[in-house]
């Protein structure tokens, strides 16, 4: 029987992570994400897991990579300033292909900004925050029940493709509570990394079979010895500067995501098929966009909502398809124009694309989106 829960978004992140099999959390407290660490500190010992408060955010990121290589599903949680600090080790996680989950509860402003207020200004940093060509999977749910299921999906995608997965929420979702029936285990699957079956002496940590993209992953301390380095490496895990080997390995790493879009992509569409005005919005802002669309329909304007749930990789083909059928697009976001850049790129069209953008720590309200739709209708 489903159990009604009254968790805040941050509590949902912690409980869903545990349901997904996460048994290691390392973090450094930062508003508005701290409750995730607080709940994990209490809950993980109850589940025979481990919680560590590290000396800073980059160390926390390092700790979860270490736990992951030792075979434990792991995560950390932070907000903008801490997310900046983690970038170096997020790149390391990509390079050594360590599955892990990073929750970013976004707050307002650059730098220390507006610690207790929401923002969505880390969208581009999520994609391009760490240097070099690398994959990014980032999920941005808008409802707390959806957040629960997307947290589980984040762990599943990270285990399956051996990549760090970012869950991008904000202060609104992190601190609000919304009662819902907690998903029962028969509503989701839990995926675990594929371990090698060969004897330890034959194991190459980055070797893939023909037609495959994700190497099997041994855990430390189980008899398989392997080297994990941020340097470009060959299938043995040891550094190489061989140009063809390095090129092919980086191409393979990107292909893990680009060749599996059907499984990774996720979005919600509301009345898009006959929409003349398309609203694109994500996360908590998309909830206001949804009510704006309903309001416009009441007034006889054919508006529709496209809400990416997987924000990276960006669902460009679907946006292109919808852009061909609409007169104009309004992109609503709590930043000064980040997702709109992706929408423009994906739409690849001369139709009018305008932003409904706001920073300052207060949400974009439905009436503001309504006004913007009217402007282009």
């Amino acid at each position: 029987m489903a159990k009604a829960v009254f968790w805040t978004g941050n509590e949902v992140c912690a409980e869903a992570a545990i349901a997904a099999g996460c048994r290691f959390f390392a973090g450094y407290p930062i508003t508005p994400s701290s409750e995730i660490a607080a709940v994990m500190a209490q809950r993980l010992p109850e589940e025979s897991g481990t919680f560590i408060q590290m000396e800073d955010e980059i160390a926390a990121m390092g700790a979860i990579i270490g736990a992951s290589l030792a075979g434990v599903k792991s995560m950390t949680a932070t907000s903008g300033p801490g997310f900046s600090l983690k970038q170096e080790n997020i790149g390391f996680a990509c390079m050594v292909e360590a599955p892990c989950v990073v929750v970013n509860v976004q707050r307002g402003g650059p730098s220390t900004g507006l610690p207790t207020h929401p923002g969505q200004s880390d969208l581009m940093q999520t994609r391009w925050g760490t240097h070099g060509d690398h994959t990014t999977i980032a999920l941005a749910p808008a409802y707390l029940r959806e957040l629960y299921l997307e947290m589980i999906r984040a762990f599943n995608l990270s285990e399956k493709f051996r990549v760090p997965v970012i869950v991008l929420i904000d202060e609104i979702l992190g601190h609000m509570s919304e009662c819902f029936e907690a998903p029962t285990p028969n509503e989701y699957t839990v995926i675990n990394r594929v371990k090698p079956t060969c004897p330890p002496e034959k194991y190459n940590p980055y070797e893939v079979q023909d037609g495959e993209l994700v190497p099997t992953m041994a855990s430390y301390f189980e008899g398989y010895r392997f080297h994990a380095t941020g340097l470009n490496h060959d299938k043995t895990g040891f550094p190489t500067t061989h140009p063809i080997v390095c090129h092919q390995d980086e191409v393979r790493q990107l292909a893990k995501v680009s060749h599996n879009r059907a499984e990774i992509d996720s979005w919600e569409e509301v009345m898009v098929e006959d929409a003349e005005i398309l609203v694109v919005s994500f996360g908590s802002t998309a909830r206001g966009a949804h009510s704006a669309v309903l309001e416009m329909r009441k007034q006889g304007v054919r508006a529709g909502l496209f809400r990416p749930i997987t924000v990276w990789p960006f669902p460009d083909e679907e946006v292109r398809r919808l852009a061909r059928k609409t007169k104009a697009i309004v992109v609503a976001e709590m930043n000064l124009g980040q997702m709109i850049l992706e929408v423009e790129r994906a739409a690849h069209s001369d139709i009018k694309i305008v932003g409904c953008q706001k920073v300052g720590g207060v949400p974009v309200e439905p009436y503001e989106i309504v006004a913007k739709i009217r402007e282009v209708a």
């Binding site: 609000m176 949804h290 309903l294």
Partner: protein, 184 residues
């Protein structure tokens, strides 16, 4: 058909309005409704102005923040000054007249000495928020008396059930009395 009802409970930190908002949301759920709660988030846990917004609807709630508030409670002048914004013109307002002296000319203000009632009828200030909750439910009818009684009884720390239910009744009765006075 959306039946959105927006409630803002404000006070100074420590008076228990966050708990009252929580109980209201549980009652809404008991009646098969949807609810979203957002507390203010400041560094001030004790003594600073604090509030919780609770949105109740018969349909799934989309925009999670308030748009036009139907009911506003204030237990401190500072919280009235800070949070009496975004209220509907006909918003029902409940204040403790011993603590909130200036209601900025707002109409539809109900004045109940919640703190004094709690002290004299219950003896312990910890019941303040439940008295306020009872008054709020009586004034708005947003949930049924029996639903809020059930929720308060279930959530009361063991041994305090009777006193908490009494606190609700004190709130119900005080609000019924001011309503009667207004209609006279």
């Amino acid at each position: 058909m959306s039946n959105r009802f927006e409630v803002r409970l404000s006070a100074v930190g420590g008076q228990g309005v966050i708990l009252a908002g929580d109980l209201l949301a549980h009652a809404a759920y008991e009646e098969g409704k949807f609810s979203v709660q957002s507390p203010t988030y400041t560094a001030q846990v004790r003594g600073g102005p604090t509030k919780i917004d609770v949105i109740i609807d018969t349909e799934k709630i989309l925009y999670p923040r308030t748009t036009a508030i139907d009911f506003f409670l204030s237990l401190a002048q500072r919280s009235f000054d800070a949070f009496a914004v975004g209220l509907k013109p006909d918003c029902t307002i409940l204040v403790d007249p011993n603590l909130v002296h200036d209601c900025k000319g707002r109409a539809n203000v109900f004045r109940i000495p919640i703190i004094e009632l709690t002290r004299t009828k219950l003896g312990r200030m910890v019941y303040t928020s439940v008295v306020a909750l009872g008054a709020m439910v009586e004034l708005t009818g947003v949930v049924k008396h029996e639903t809020i009684r059930k929720v308060v009884e279930e959530h009361a720390p063991p041994g305090t059930e009777t006193q908490n239910l009494k606190a609700l009744d004190v709130g119900f009765a005080a609000a019924a009395a001011v309503k009667a006075e207004v209609s006279r």
